[in-house]
Symmetry: C2
Subunit: 313 residues, 2 copies
């Protein structure tokens, strides 16, 4: 009997659930809203039903377990703790809740760490012992691999590169502090940058016609490609701040490569190459021309679901 | 026959050489100037002679090898590369040079990494799997332990926490850039802070009578203990900036503890406790009240020599 695993990627907006085979093939996939269910009980009920419905499509396979990537997901305890972008406050015993319904191995980790495991097992980081994964989504998630192992730290919460300080007393962050990197380098961050630039610069821009609530990072990319000055400046500022903070991270862990994932990673010249240029500008001389900056090898796939499933496979 | 190892700590000013037993007892110790020998050949000649003289005092023991901690020392290659605080430029094949004179195992690492190994084997970090060591000397050296292993990174040069950016376009650093943490948080850094404060504040201070070339961090400590306002402000600023950057480092590796070594670490209240207070002020909420800030368990010993010897023992 062939093995399958359930991979779950809990994001701030949606939760994606997939049935994954040993060959990293996604047999079936569905998604549910995360932000809609402010009561944890309601969310768990919908999640459990969705998993059971999906498993009906995988009869005849052997279920190895359920792997979950979630913001602030803790590998050591199976819980989610104080996740700023999720609707439930405090500590959520996610693996405990699911164990009431499923008699199998259940492993929780940070959503970005799940993606990092995906990159290591199936993607561009195959064979690398030291690399960093940065996911530019609603926030900035990261996974750090040292000596071939994911860095979990003493409490399971290492790898929060999105919450290093980028600007002293800068933008308000969901974590309760100010100036965290993810308030600048993320899909939300580049949108905030656009609105700062609309206020501070006089360049003509189509972006002046779009309200904050409607603008997406995809729009900013499309306008940048068309030569819109505000959009181009926003990308440049994002790459500058990301390159600068990556230079600091390289001084700490000296990775072979930095992989960029998430919607913004599709902007290859404007993010990947520009970030590499700024990284080289800011990095300490001994690391110059050593660190690759690459788009994830799994762009376009659901890397977080694949990575989450790899946790139990 | 009992085993011994030679432990060598190469600092920007002096090089300390010790003969260490398996029980971490230093049988004999000597030191030579580092900065005086601007020609590498002269330095190697003096170093070799000093080692041979010391070994005469350890007859009847079995020499296991020579362990060396040096700024930018590379564990993978046995070389020193582009060390900003050493007189020799480019790449120095230290283990190659010494192998011409000694037929034994020769291992090189960063001086701060050697101290970190000392802390792990003999000091306060015994049994810890995730911790950080920060040495506040002429510069700021660091060693990072993840999952029980020292982080060397892809090129052997990871762990340069002294060269993360602390202040944009800040003080000129020996590495060729500006604003690196070690230009603020180190014995040299606190001295630079004192002179900035003498310029920017009007507080009366005995420090106004001491020229830059004569002032030591020990003087600053002594005046601070006596209540000198400039000296106290300099310690507060140092702890603030160190606590802030440690908060970022904790977001990356989430250590159980941070150990502080070096001359400044003797200022327990003014550095250790003050840094802990600022760390808690700046740290991301999920890490609050988790990370210990402690003086090295080996203060007063030659931890770098002990650690270097442990590399080959």
């Amino acid at each position: 009997m062939k093995n399958i695993a359930v991979g779950i990627d809990i994001g701030g907006t949606n939760t994606v659930i997939g049935i994954v085979t040993e060959n990293a093939e996604i047999l079936a996939e569905t998604s549910v809203s995360t932000q809609k269910y402010t009561e944890l009980g309601d969310y768990i009920a919908v999640l459990v039903k969705s998993i059971k419905d999906l498993l009906l499509k995988a009869e005849g396979y052997n279920l190895k377990g359920i792997g979950i990537g979630a913001p602030n997901g803790n590998y050591y305890t199976g819980t989610i703790e104080k996740a700023p972008n999720l609707p439930w406050k405090g500590t959520v015993d996610l693996s405990g809740e699911l164990k009431k319904y499923f008699d199998c191995k259940i492993v929780v980790t940070n959503d970005a760490k799940a993606a990092t495991i995906g990159e290591m097992v199936y993607g561009g980081a195959k064979g690398m012992k030291n690399f960093v994964m940065v996911t530019l989504g609603t926030g900035l998630g990261s996974g750090i691999v040292v000596n071939g192992q994911l860095v979990y730290g003493s409490d399971g919460f290492a790898g929060e590169f999105g919450h290093v300080s980028a600007v002293e007393n800068g933008r308000v962050c969901g974590c309760g502090r100010k100036g965290c990197l993810e308030t600048y380098a993320s899909a939300t961050g580049i949108k905030r940058t656009v609105f700062e630039l609309l206020a501070s610069c006089n360049d003509e821009s189509e972006l002046r016609n779009i309200p904050f609530s409607k603008l997406t990072s995809k729009d900013i990319y499309d306008y940048a490609v068309q030569g819109d000055k505000i959009a181009l400046k926003a990308f440049d500022y994002t790459a500058d701040i990301l390159g600068r903070k990556l230079a600091d991270l390289c001084a700490v862990v000296s990775p072979e490569a930095v992989f960029i994932f998430g919607g913004l990673a599709n902007a290859k010249e404007l993010i990947i190459q520009a970030t590499k240029n700024y990284l080289e500008k800011y990095i300490m001389p001994i690391y110059k021309d050593k660190v690759k900056v690459l788009p994830s090898g799994l762009l376009g796939t659901n890397i977080a679901v694949l990575g989450a499933s790899a946790l139990v496979m």
